[in-house]
Subunit: 413 residues, 2 copies
């Protein structure tokens, strides 16, 4: 192995930028605050992180984050560091400790955000990536082209298993492709996982017999490892086709072990993403973050949606979705499906398609389907018609002239 | 089960604070953006999160975080929410998704930080807590009272197994209580875990024979689950007494599974803590964060140190250390040992002891030991003498008059 791990950062520092970069590189490899006699030039050349690039962007008078060196001016820059893979081997957990470890706490840092990651091919050999990805998900969902039209059980939490199954029945009858549990609903005493899955799968199989196509439902099995394995096996044994998990809750070992065990696609929820990303001067961009989870085996990754109900900008949403679709390695693309949700309706179909240039995605709407004046089936149809129009390059209003559900949807959305 | 989960937040909002609190409570339980026909009053009363307390602190003209509702004024408050445990059961992973999930991304939020957590006793029944804690660690380290005087192998990364063992030998000969790998050093090709452990344990056993007491070494086994289990078993089979792991790298399932498997204390490193906490308006306080990891089984938890080389204030360090020592439940205290490190010397002993009122802790110094003019053994002695003085309430300078190593240390530190 001789390839290096590359990480890019947005850095703000009250120190000289070159010195700050050297402190960061040192802290995350062979350096210490005191020069030690055994940190020889040979050791440093072999094991030290290297500054590959440092470009000054601008200077500002106030620090973005407190606690750093006091200065009259804070310099913002882009920084690229690299590490020899001999320091850690192709290990995702140790990659985390290396590229996203202590460095955020340094006094030389008044802002630091991990913006990019380039990994040696050894990681592709060491980790499986998604087992299903786009092709496998399409096959199991019976959706050969276009997006999977999806929705989320609502209220998020509070329905019992029978009430959940009743909502699933309506959605399946309405022709939905994809349903997911809310991330708040896993195995609470009021809506136990097993009962919810049994009741829902009965309804899904009934629907499949009538429609000739089985809706995919992502059951949220987030929990301890034994619980997740057991819940996965229940879903599989009942003929289900997807499981869901909250990545920040279970962590990297959780996803790796679920991926090893699973025979179904893994729908990966990013709840908690806000605390990793909402401060622009700190934390993670989505591009490097999703890379790690794709390597570990996520098939579907949430990316919010255009004009969403949250605080994320459209540019950020699209950058995230493109990142999820971008090949990780030329020989091992490990592409996952981006999941668009949050305040979505057919109105976002044209913009989403235009930005990505493809429909290899899941598009989930709640109110946009349930609230349709013609009912759930009309809501699903209207959403699908909006996508048909978007993919054909036809304006929604024009397509709506010959598609009544879309027409009614446009009035409602 | 009828107890509720309580979480406290620091909240900043461009909205009316009461409305913002209701949106947060709704988003994290039964609410949605549209009122749904099946969100009945009964369902809401049973499953909705409840606003227990909302106290306005101040108003500011600019938002701390971008992307939220625009307003002329942003109100800062403390907010306490509670959830019925029936929503999720006593599940740490689902607790994460509930108290630290989507809420940080809401447009009603221009700042949100989780500051406290109070859990029903069901969590104490569902999770093991530390297997060793203070008493077990003291027993294995052979340190009946006072702090474990510790250090970290340096350079962090770059030494090979033999060079590491040579450093361990010097430390053991110097009378050290505790040694840890750096969080950057796990199983890299240049310093494979197995060889490092074998070489180090030979030296540690030699030292134990001479000194009648075995130094505790925390070997960093961070990795995938199989790797961690196998590495743990190697350490145990060679008579080692501690393993170390990076919590944010492996995640909650990783620690839970390691705890289930382990027969040794788990030294928990918090690298990455900066991206969770460095922005005061976002993320996590240490108190609720460490609670989750203690329940999951961490025996030792890093808390930085007084006058550290990083950006954290002394107040924050002491609050973190007190949190680690505070009982989680009256009947199940699950206390862990705080680990003080980063730019530490004997000079920080009096302040650390005064703030905690006890010495149930690990205090690690690097340069403060290695750089002592009398060598490593003198460095360890000086550090220990500083603690003896602190615990006896004697000023360091006074104690130094009759303790040559401390005298020399004071000149050097």
């Amino acid at each position: 192995m001789s390839e290096r791990i590359h990480a890019r950062y947005w850095l703000e520092t009250g120190d000289d930028p070159r010195r700050a970069a050297e402190v960061i590189a040192g802290e995350q490899s062979s350096g210490t605050f005191l020069t030690l006699p055994n940190e020889t030039p040979e050791l440093k050349a072999r094991s030290g992180a290297r500054i590959e690039r440092l470009d000054v962007l601008e200077q500002v008078p106030e620090p973005s984050l407190p606690g750093g060196l006091r200065s009259k001016v804070y310099t913002r820059c882009t920084l690229e560091l690299s590490w020899p893979i001999e320091n850690l081997g192709p290990s995702l957990t140790n990659l985390m400790a290396t590229v996203a470890g202590n460095l955020f706490e340094l006094r030389q840092v008044s802002g630091l955000r991990l913006t990019g990651l380039r990994l040696p091919a050894a990681f592709a050999a060491a980790y499986p990536g998604p087992a299903f990805g786009v092709a496998g998900t399409r096959r199991l969902a019976g959706v050969a082209s276009g997006p999977l039209i999806g929705t989320i059980i609502k209220p998020s939490v509070g329905l019992d298993p029978q009430q959940t199954a009743e909502q699933v029945r309506q959605l399946v009858d309405g022709g939905i492709d994809f349903i997911k549990d809310d991330e708040l609903q896993a195995d609470g005493p009021h809506c136990p996982f097993d009962e919810r899955v049994r009741a829902s799968m009965r309804v899904i199989h009934d629907g499949a017999q009538r429609h000739g196509r089985q809706a995919m439902m992502a059951f949220n099995l987030t929990g301890d490892l034994d619980q997740m394995r057991r819940r996965h096996d229940l879903v599989a044994s009942l003929g289900g086709s997807c499981v869901m998990v909250s990545l920040n809750a279970i962590g990297l070992v959780g996803l790796l072990e679920l991926r090893r065990h699973a025979s179904l696609p893994i729908h990966a929820h990013r709840c908690g993403w806000g605390y990793l990303s909402r401060c622009p001067a700190l934390g993670w961009d989505y591009a490097p973050w999703q890379q790690i989870w794709r390597l570990a085996g996520a098939d579907h990754l949430h990316v919010n949606g255009l004009r969403n109900k949250f605080s994320e900008s459209d540019d950020s949403v699209i950058a995230a979705a493109r990142a999820v679709q971008q090949p990780l390695f030329a020989h091992a693309p490990m592409a996952a499906m981006p999941v668009f949700s949050s305040g979505q309706t057919g109105l976002q179909a044209p913009g989403t398609f235009a930005a990505l240039g493809n429909a290899d995605l899941i598009h989930a709407a709640g109110g946009g389907i349930f609230g349709h004046p013609g009912g759930i089936a009309a809501g699903v149809s209207a959403f699908r018609q909006a996508w048909d129009a978007a993919m054909a390059g036809v304006p929604l209003a024009e397509h709506a002239r010959t598609h009544a559900e879309l027409q009614a949807g446009l009035g409602f959305w």
